[in-house]
């Protein structure tokens, strides 16, 4: 085990897979000599050469489309969107070609799209989005969103090895703020399995990405018997783990930084109300961003993104219900 940041863990996982399998290669904007906008691929071009760390023109549909073609021919492309927001420019290839090829024609497309997502640093409306729900609405795409350094590596490794297109959401706010022990060498975390981040009996918080550390901090500061489930994979959801925790505690808070309507929270809430209604002791609550673009100015942005106090307040209200 080595202590590393979330960002270093992503690099480590990618590097390990590129060393292990020659079919793995990266492509994206400014990932080569520059090492990527956030330095995830820093030093990669020296080790792997410019073919496997391929700087592309500013053309997101091409990045995704070329990845599809390469994946079909047996490569394992890892495409970087410089910001998750920019996937809107590559959306057509992702949802219409990549996501549907196996269903329509039995053609598997083993590729990963890395999506640096999330706000909290005055990135404004086009550098702060959390677009995960877009992908869940498009059948054929797996979606993962790690919250810890260990999972950042393990989920990336599994995403690369998966025979399907996987959207890998890496939260920018966690890059350098989250640190943890990460297994060296081969380390894969299976897709589709949630993680109990904190055990508790009175209330379940279902979270992923940046909302996991927030939920854990709230639980610690409140010093209450709160369970925190880190969903880790958003499609396919670990429905058994969700129902198990909801049935145990009977009180549910779902937290995410993404906007509210038709988000992951809505899906988890409907799952619980359909299959665990009898176990509930309180209405299900969601803590999310409201349905607005992420604003630029710090006080405006803070007003929109869920804060620690919001999380604590939601917990208190549910515990008191």
């Amino acid at each position: 085990m080595t202590e590393m940041t979330y960002l270093q863990a992503i690099s480590d996982g990618l590097r390990e897979e590129m060393r292990r399998d020659e079919a793995v290669f990266c492509l994206g904007e400014d990932i080569g000599a520059f090492g990527g906008a956030f330095k995830v691929t820093d030093g990669f071009i020296e080790e792997f050469g410019p073919d496997r760390v391929l700087d592309t023109p500013l053309a997101e549909n091409m990045i995704v489309g070329a990845s599809i073609g390469a994946a079909i021919e047996g490569m394992k492309p890892v495409a970087e969107m410089q910001f998750a927001d920019f996937i809107s420019c590559g959306f057509d290839q992702l949802v219409n070609v990549a996501g549907k090829l196996h269903y329509r024609q039995g053609v598997s497309v083993p590729m990963v799209v890395r999506l640096p997502s999330g706000g909290g640093f005055s990135g404004g409306p086009f550098h702060s989005q959390n677009p995960e729900a877009w992908f869940i609405q498009a059948p054929g795409l797996k979606v993962v969103a790690p919250a810890t350094a260990e999972d950042a590596k393990g989920l990336l490794v599994s995403a690369i090895r998966d025979p399907n297109p996987v959207c890998y959401l890496e939260h920018k706010g966690l890059y350098r703020h989250v640190k943890g022990e990460v297994p060296e060498g081969d380390h894969a975390v299976p897709l589709g399995e949630a993680r109990v981040a904190r055990e508790g009996e009175e209330l379940s918080i279902f979270a992923y990405g940046s909302s996991v550390p927030l939920a854990l901090q709230a639980a610690e500061e409140l010093d209450e018997d709160i369970e925190v489930i880190d969903l880790r994979t958003l499609n396919p959801l670990d429905t058994e783990a969700i129902l198990r925790s909801a049935e145990k505690t009977g009180k549910v808070l779902i937290a995410h930084e993404a906007t509210r309507s038709c988000g992951v929270g809505a899906e988890v809430a409907s799952l619980i109300s359909e299959r665990a209604f009898e176990w509930l002791d309180a209405p299900i609550r969601r803590l999310t961003a409201p349905d607005v673009p992420i604003p630029f100015s710090p006080p405006l942005e803070q007003a929109v993104l869920p804060q620690l106090d919001d999380m604590k307040e939601a917990c208190r209200e549910l515990l008191a219900y």
């Binding site: 073609g69 390469a70 021919e73 024609q105």
Partner: protein, 382 residues
């Protein structure tokens, strides 16, 4: 004929080629007839109410897809468009699977998952189109990227209409293919209309002219002359195989039917259709075979009759194919494992003489290749 980057040429003269044997020529005619008669049968099934949705064909464009796909070797790959049924046949799809696909039957290429011409047989080296055009240009470019990275002498070929050249994805694909000199052949089918929109509302300058700005040759060819199409596609694919990069081939042709069977083509001037009717690619080729290549009319008739009988047989098989079991509607969204595409049929006599697979350096689909520097090498020499 040579493709020159600097001077896109417009060639309407007959392109002679020494690359075709007498049997090859008979095959070219056979595939064009197979497309024409299969689509006529499909239209009949549509009129009988057996085809859900609408019906789309490539009547008048048979020479484009047959002539171009005929150059490909087994391990080459294709992304085929909806006016290019002949290319599917050249690669080995049989008409019963095409007709069954139109009827949403279990025996269709997609087993009812997708309709009409939205199919590609992965076992035959094809990735089927989507409705958003020209999305498959990007996919073909990605396959070509892989061939280049692995230093494999293989070609990706893809089709799009002139309407697609107005879309940004077209530019993205051309630009990327040009940067890395990828082994991809882009076949532009200029059939004069994007649904109802005439070319003068699609672009100010013929899109073949743009090839030069992407750094590769663009050539215009008579898309109703199957041997002319074959010859430019042959040169383009050889260029690609030899590492000289992509080519854009513009085939001038005419969509003789509506966009779909629901479209009465009221927007097409009558004289225009009449003029193109005199240039029917199949009739033109029959005339050439009899006048220049010693084919007897009886031989032509035999080919036509045997194709017609085969289409009858295939139509019966398609109609007998059951509808899919509704229970499978939710299966197969995700893959359990990666599987390589299969290889396509390669009927051109060149391929029976020299096995492409044996010539390839990278037979293993996932094997370590030892050619990591291919793109980088280009960067240094360009």
């Amino acid at each position: 004929m040579k493709l020159e980057a600097a001077s896109p040429s417009r060639s309407r003269e007959r392109a002679g080629t020494d690359a075709l044997t007498r049997d090859d020529r008979a095959l070219l005619l056979r595939y064009m007839l197979l497309m024409r008669l299969s689509e006529e049968r499909g239209l009949t099934l549509y009129k009988q109410g057996k085809v859900p949705g609408s019906f789309y064909d490539g009547c008048g464009q048979e020479a484009v897809c047959v002539g171009s796909s005929f150059v490909l070797g087994p391990r080459d790959r294709m992304c085929i468009l909806h006016r290019d049924l002949g290319a599917h046949f050249v690669r080995g799809v049989t008409p019963d699977r095409y007709l069954a696909n139109y009827m949403g039957r279990e025996g269709g290429v997609t087993g009812g998952r997708d309709g009409n011409m939205h199919f590609g047989d992965r076992q035959l080296g094809c990735v089927g189109m989507v409705s958003m055009l020209p999305d498959m240009a990007q996919v073909a470019t990605g396959m070509a990227l892989t061939f280049k990275m692995r230093s494999e002498p293989r070609v990706a070929m893809t089709f799009f209409g002139e309407g697609s050249t107005a879309n940004g994805q077209w530019h993205e694909a051309m630009n990327f293919a040009g940067i890395h000199r990828l082994p991809v052949v882009f076949v532009l089918e200029n059939n004069q209309f994007a649904y109802s929109t005439p070319t003068d509302l699609e672009f100010a300058v013929d899109p073949v002219q743009r090839a030069k700005s992407y750094g590769f040759p663009g050539v215009s060819v008579d898309g109703n002359d199957v041997e002319a199409v074959f010859e430019v596609a042959r040169v383009a694919s050889e260029r690609a195989r030899e590492g000289e990069g992509p080519s854009l081939i513009e085939c001038h042709t005419m969509r003789m039917h509506g966009h779909g069977a629901h479209d009465d083509m009221s927007y097409v001037p009558k004289e225009m259709l009449e003029e193109w009717a005199h240039r029917d690619p199949i009739e033109l080729y029959i005339r050439r075979l009899t006048e220049e290549h010693g084919f007897e009319q009886q031989e032509i008739d035999e080919i036509r009759n045997s194709v017609a009988a085969y289409v009858d047989e295939c139509a019966e098989k398609a109609v007998a194919s059951p509808m899919p079991d509704p229970g499978v509607a939710t299966a197969g969204v995700f893959a359990e494992s990666w599987e390589p595409l299969g290889d396509g049929e390669a009927p051109w006599s060149r391929w029976s003489q020299a096995d492409q697979g044996a010539a390839d350096s990278g037979n293993g689909h996932r094997a370590a290749n030892g050619h990591r520097g291919a793109l980088a090498e280009h960067g240094r020499t360009a």
